[in-house]
C-alpha cells in the first residue's frame, strides 16, 4: 500500500518553514482515467468475506463471479463459459473459461472456485452463507476447467447468487494458509477482473489500472480507474461539477435538480450495484404488539401514509412508490395487480374507528414509537405529520444505526422500525427472508415484524424449488396478493439510487457491481470543464 504519509510529513516541514505557496498546475484531464467518488474507506479488499458497501464497489472491478448479470438481472457467462442444470435442479455443472489468468499470471482453475466457496464464502460472506449453508453439499472439480455444485435439494435461483457481488472468486494460491479475514493478500488484491490493483492510500484514494490480458477482448475501455474517498457527499458533488471527479455513486437529494440541469453531467438511475439491488425501504410494524396485531389498524396506517409525498420530498424522487412486497425492479416476478392502499386519511380514520381506536378529546387515538437511525430523521418527521392527520401520535426515537437495528431485529423491543431490504436479483435472495416464519431472527434484516403465515412459507419454498421462470412467477404473484391483503409491512419505496457522471464518459453498467468494465471515454471533442 503506498501512502502519502512520508511525503506529507516533509510537506509539513516545508510548509512550516516556507509558508504556503500559491501556484497551481492546471489540471490536464486525461480522458482515459476515470475518477470515481466513493464515500468511505474499503479497508481490506477481499470481496469473498464481506458484503460491505465500501469494499465491493472497488473489488467488483478487480474480481469476477462465475456468472455476470445482464440488464434484466439474468445470468450471462463470466468466469463460467457455460453451464448445465442436472439432476432435476440438484446439480449445476460449470464449464470454466479457458485461458483466464490471475493478475499475477497464475492460471485460474476450478480449484480456485472450490476454495472460494468452501473457505471464504460459506464461512464469512453473510448472505451467501445464509442462503447456501445446508443447501450446497459439495463443489466437485473433476478437472481444472469444470466445477460441479451438488445441492441437497433443487434450487432455482442459484445462478443469480453467483455474480461478483454475491460470490467473487478469489485466488487460492494467494489466500491459502492465510487468515481470510485479516490476511495480507487483502491489501494487494489479485483478481481476474478488468482492472488490476495498483495502490491504496488510506482515506485518500485507490488506484487501479487496465488489465491488459482481460479475458473479454477490448475491455476495459479506460486505462486507469481511481477511487477517490470523499466522505462528504456535498464535496463529492462539488468535485463532480468542477471536473475533478467523473462519477459519483451517490448524490445528495437537494443537488439532484441542479445536476440534472447542468450541461455535461448526466444523472442516471440505478436500481442495483455493489450495495445491493432492487432495494425497498419498508416500515416494520411489530406484529406481536398492539395496535399492529390488528389488520384494520395496519390497513388504516397504509392508507394514512402518503407515499407520493415521501418519495418526492424525503427521497427526492430517488425511486417510485412501492405497491407491494416485491420491487418493480424485478419485472419478471413483480405484479402491481394486488390490493392497493392509496393515500386516504378519511378511509384510515374509518378503519381506526372500526378497530376501536376512537379519538380522545384532543383527537388522539393511539401513540406509537418509531425507532430509526440518524439517516431517517426526515422520514420520521414526515411520517409524524401524516399520521397526526389521522389521530395517531408518532413518537420519534432516534438511535445510532447499529442500536436501532439491534432494537428492531434482535431485541424486538419496538413498535415501528424501518429497513431497506434489497430484493436482489431474485425474490429468493432478498424477499423471502423478510416474510418466512423460519427467519424471525433474532438477527439483523430478518423477519422483523415477526410475521407468521404457513401458506406464505410453503409458497416461498415452492418458488425456490422450481427452476422454470414462468412457474416461479405464478408463485410469486400469489405471494404478493396474499401479502398485500395482510400488510405485514408498509412498503414505502422501490428505491432507484441516482448516480451522476460527467458526459465525457459513457457505458456505465449501473445494474451490476462491475460498473466500470464497459466504461469508455466519449471520443468526440471532450466538452470543456465548467
Amino acid at each position: 500500500m503506498t501512502l502519502p504519509g512520508g511525503r506529507v510529513a516533509w510537506v509539513v516541514l516545508l510548509a512550516a518553514v516556507g509558508g504556503a505557496a500559491c501556484a497551481r498546475k492546471p489540471a490536464a484531464p486525461s480522458a482515459t482515467t476515470l475518477v470515481v467518488a466513493v464515500g468511505s474507506d474499503p479497508g481490506a479488499l477481499n470481496p469473498a468475506v464481506t458484503t460491505s458497501g465500501s469494499t465491493h464497489p472497488i473489488t467488483d472491478q478487480i474480481f469476477n463471479g462465475l456468472v455476470g448479470l445482464d440488464e434484466q438481472l439474468q445470468p450471462i457467462p463470466e468466469l463460467a463459459e457455460r453451464w448445465t442444470v442436472e439432476d432435476g435442479g440438484r446439480a449445476y455443472r460449470f464449464a470454466l473459461r479457458p485461458g483466464v489468468t490471475w493478475h499475477d499470471g497464475v492460471p485460474f482453475t476450478s480449484a480456485d472456485v472450490k476454495f472460494t466457496f468452501e473457505q471464504a464464502l460459506l464461512k464469512y460472506h453473510s448472505r451467501t452463507r445464509a442462503a447456501l449453508e445446508g443447501l450446497l453439499d459439495t463443489v466437485e472439480t473433476p478437472d481444472d476447467l469444470t466445477a460441479v455444485f451438488r445441492l441437497k435439494r433443487p434450487y432455482g435461483p442459484l445462478l443469480q447468487r453467483l455474480d461478483v457481488v454475491e460470490a467473487s472468486i478469489i485466488p487460492k494460491h494467494q489466500y491459502e494458509g492465510h487468515d481470510l479475514l485479516h490476511g495480507e493478500p487483502a491489501r494487494k488484491p489479485v483478481g481476474t477482473g478488468p482492472f488490476r490493483f495498483v495502490s491504496y492510500a488510506t482515506a485518500d484514494r485507490i488506484v487501479l489500472e487496465r488489465n491488459p490480458t482481460y479475458f473479454r477482448q477490448g475491455l476495459p475501455g479506460i486505462d486507469r480507474l481511481v477511487f477517490r474517498i470523499l466522505p462528504n457527499a456535498a464535496s463529492a458533488v462539488a468535485a463532480l461539477e468542477s471536473g475533478d471527479v467523473d462519477y459519483t455513486v451517490s448524490v445528495p437529494g437537494p443537488d439532484i435538480p441542479r445536476l440534472q440541469r447542468t450541461p455535461g453531467i448526466a444523472v442516471v438511475k440505478s436500481a442495483g450495484g455493489s450495495g445491493g439491488s432492487a432495494c425497498q425501504d419498508v416500515l416494520i410494524p411489530n406484529l406481536t404488539r398492539r395496535p399492529f396485531s390488528d389488520l384494520r389498524v395496519r390497513r388504516a396506517i397504509a392508507h394514512a401514509i402518503d407515499r407520493d409525498f415521501i418519495v418526492e420530498r424525503v427521497y427526492f424522487g430517488q425511486g417510485q412508490p412501492a405497491t407491494g412486497p416485491i420491487s418493480r425492479l424485478i419485472p419478471w416476478a413483480y405484479t402491481p395487480d394486488v390490493r392497493q392502499y392509496p393515500h386516504d386519511p378519511a378511509q384510515a380514520r374509518k378503519l381506526l374507528d372500526e378497530a376501536g381506536l376512537k379519538p380522545d378529546a384532543t383527537g388522539q387515538r393511539v401513540a406509537i414509537t418509531f425507532t430509526h437511525g440518524a439517516n431517517q430523521q426526515r422520514l420520521g418527521q414526515a411520517l409524524r405529520e401524516q399520521l397526526k392527520a389521522v389521530g395517531i401520535t408518532l413518537n420519534l426515537e432516534m438511535l445510532d444505526f447499529n442500536a436501532a437495528v439491534e432494537r428492531v431485529f434482535v431485541k424486538k423491543t419496538f413498535d415501528l422500525g424501518l429497513a431497506s431490504f434489497c430484493n436482489g436479483a431474485d425474490p429468493e435472495i432478498g424477499v423471502r427472508r423478510v416474510y418466512v416464519s423460519s427467519n424471525i431472527g433474532p438477527y439483523p434484516f430478518s423477519n422483523g415484524a415477526s410475521y407468521r403465515n404457513a401458506t406464505i412459507d410453503a409458497l416461498f419454498d415452492a418458488a425456490a424449488a422450481r427452476v422454470e421462470k414462468d412457474q416461479r412467477r405464478e408463485t410469486y404473484v400469489e405471494i404478493q396478493r396474499i401479502l398485500a391483503e395482510e400488510v405485514p409491512y408498509f412498503w414505502l419505496i422501490d428505491s432507484e439510487t441516482l448516480r451522476a457522471h460527467r458526459q465525457t464518459f459513457t457505458g456505465f453498467r449501473l445494474w451490476t457491481g462491475a460498473f466500470a468494465e464497459t466504461v469508455r471515454p466519449v471520443s468526440a471533442s471532450t466538452p470543456s470543464k465548467q
Binding site: P4, G6, R7, V8, A9, V11, V12, A15, G19, A20, A21, C22, A23, R24, K25, V35, S40, D41, G43, A44, T51, S52, Y124, S126, R127, R129, A130, L181, A186, R187, A201, T202, A203, D204, R205, V226, L230, N232, A234, S235, A236, A238, A239, E241, S242, D244, V245, L399, D400, F401, N402, A403, A404, V405, E406, R407, G430, N439, Y443, P444
Partner: protein, 326 residues
C-alpha cells in the same frame, strides 16, 4: 533545591499525571463503548446473515467474551504495544492511526501558521497604526470569527471560493485525476489545504489578535517603552523589537495549548472538507463501532493533549523566566 532538580521533579510529576490521564481515558472509553446499546458484529460482519453466521463471527472477533475479560485482554495487549485490529480497516489499529496522522499534522500545522500570521499580524498593524477604524474592524471581525461555528463558515467559504468563484478545490487532500510526483504534488497538497486550514484557523486567530493586542497595549504603556519613544526610537521599529516580543509569550502558550487539541479539534473541519485526518477517522470509527480504533484514537488524542500542555508550559517558562514551573 537547585533549579535542575526542581525541573526534573516537575517533569516526573507531569509524566505520572499524563500516564494517569491516558489510563483513565482508556478505561472510560472502553467501558462507555461496551455499555452502549447495539452489537458491533452487525456492522463489522456482513448483512443478511443468519444466527450461526453471527455467532461464529462474534467468536472470531472475541466479542463473545465478557467485558471484563475483553478489557483485561485489551490492556495486556496495549501494554505490549499492540493496539488491536481495526474492525473497519482490517489492519492493525496503530497503522491506521499513523496513516491519518500526517494529514492532520499538515492541516493543523498550516492552520496554526495561519492563525498566528492573521492574529499576530492584525494585532501588530493595530498597534502600529492606532486607527480607531482599524481597531473597531479587527475587533468586530475577530468577535464574529470566534463565535461562528467552523462547519458553517466552512460551508460559506466552499460556496464562495469553490462553487461561485471556482478558484479553490472544495474538498479532499489532492487532485483526484493525476498522480502527481515531487514538487507538483507538494503544490497540489498546499493548494488543497488552503481553504480548510483558513477555516480552521479563524477562531484561534481571533483569540490571538485579542490577546496579543491587549498585551501590546499594556507594554506600550510601560515606562521603559515610553522612554524609548521619548528617545526618538521609531514606532514601527519599537513595536517590532520590544512590544511584539513581549506579546509573543501568551501567543506561544495559546498555540501550544491549541496544538494539543488539534487531533480532535479539527474533526468537524475535516468532515466538512473530506480531509483524511485523525479527527475524521474517529468520527467514522465511532459510527461504525470500531471499538479498537475508537479506543486507540482516544488514547492518542488524550496523550497529545497532555504532551502539548507539558511542552507549552516548558516553552513559556523558557521564554519568560518569571513564569515558574509548578
Amino acid at each position: 533545591m537547585t533549579h535542575a532538580t526542581s525541573a526534573a521533579r516537575w517533569l516526573m510529576r507531569r509524566a505520572l499525571f499524563a500516564v494517569l490521564v491516558v489510563a483513565g481515558v482508556t478505561t472510560l472509553t472502553f467501558v462507555l463503548i461496551h455499555l452502549a446499546p447495539g452489537d458491533p458484529i452487525y456492522l463489522l460482519a456482513g448483512d443478511g446473515g443468519n444466527a450461526s453466521y453471527y455467532d461464529s463471527m462474534r467468536a472470531k472477533y472475541g466479542l463473545d467474551r465478557t467485558i471484563a475479560e475483553q478489557f483485561v485482554r485489551y490492556v495486556r495487549a496495549v501494554l505490549s504495544g499492540d493496539f488491536g485490529y481495526s474492525f473497519m480497516y482490517q489492519q492493525p489499529v496503530i497503522g491506521v492511526v499513523l496513516e491519518h496522522l500526517p494529514a492532520t499534522m499538515l492541516l493543523g500545522g498550516t492552520s496554526l501558521l495561519f492563525s498566528v500570521i492573521l492574529g499576530f499580524g492584525a494585532a501588530v498593524l493595530c498597534a502600529i497604526w492606532r486607527s480607531r477604524w482599524l481597531d473597531a474592524a479587527v475587533r468586530g471581525v475577530s468577535s464574529v470569527a470566534y463565535s461562528a461555528p467552523v462547519y458553517w463558515t466552512g460551508q460559506v467559504f466552499i460556496l464562495i471560493a469553490a462553487v461561485k468563484l471556482g478558484v479553490l478545490p472544495s474538498g479532499g487532500m489532492s487532485t483526484a485525476r493525476e498522480s502527481l510526483e515531487g514538487i507538483a504534488y507538494v503544490v497540489d497538497l498546499l493548494w488543497h489545504v488552503l481553504l480548510p486550514a483558513f477555516t480552521l484557523s479563524l477562531p484561534l486567530a481571533a483569540v490571538i489578535v485579542r490577546v496579543s493586542r491587549a498585551s501590546m497595549m499594556e507594554t506600550l504603556g510601560e515606562p521603559h517603552v515610553r522612554a524609548a519613544v521619548a528617545r526618538g526610537l521609531g514606532r514601527s521599529r519599537l513595536i517590532l523589537r520590544h512590544v511584539a516580543w513581549n506579546a509573543s509569550i501568551p501567543v506561544v502558550a495559546l498555540v501550544g495549548q491549541h496544538a494539543g487539541q488539534l487531533l480532535a479539534g479539527a474533526a468537524l473541519t475535516e468532515a466538512l472538507f473530506g480531509w483524511p485526518g485523525v479527527g475524521h477517522l474517529v468520527l467514522h470509527a465511532g459510527a461504525h463501532r470500531d471499538y479498537p480504533l475508537v479506543t486507540a484514537a482516544f488514547i492518542f488524542i488524550s496523550a497529545s493533549v497532555v504532551f502539548f500542555n507539558v511542552v507549552t508550559d516548558a516553552a513559556t517558562s523558557w521564554l519568560d523566566p518569571r513564569i515558574r514551573l509548578t
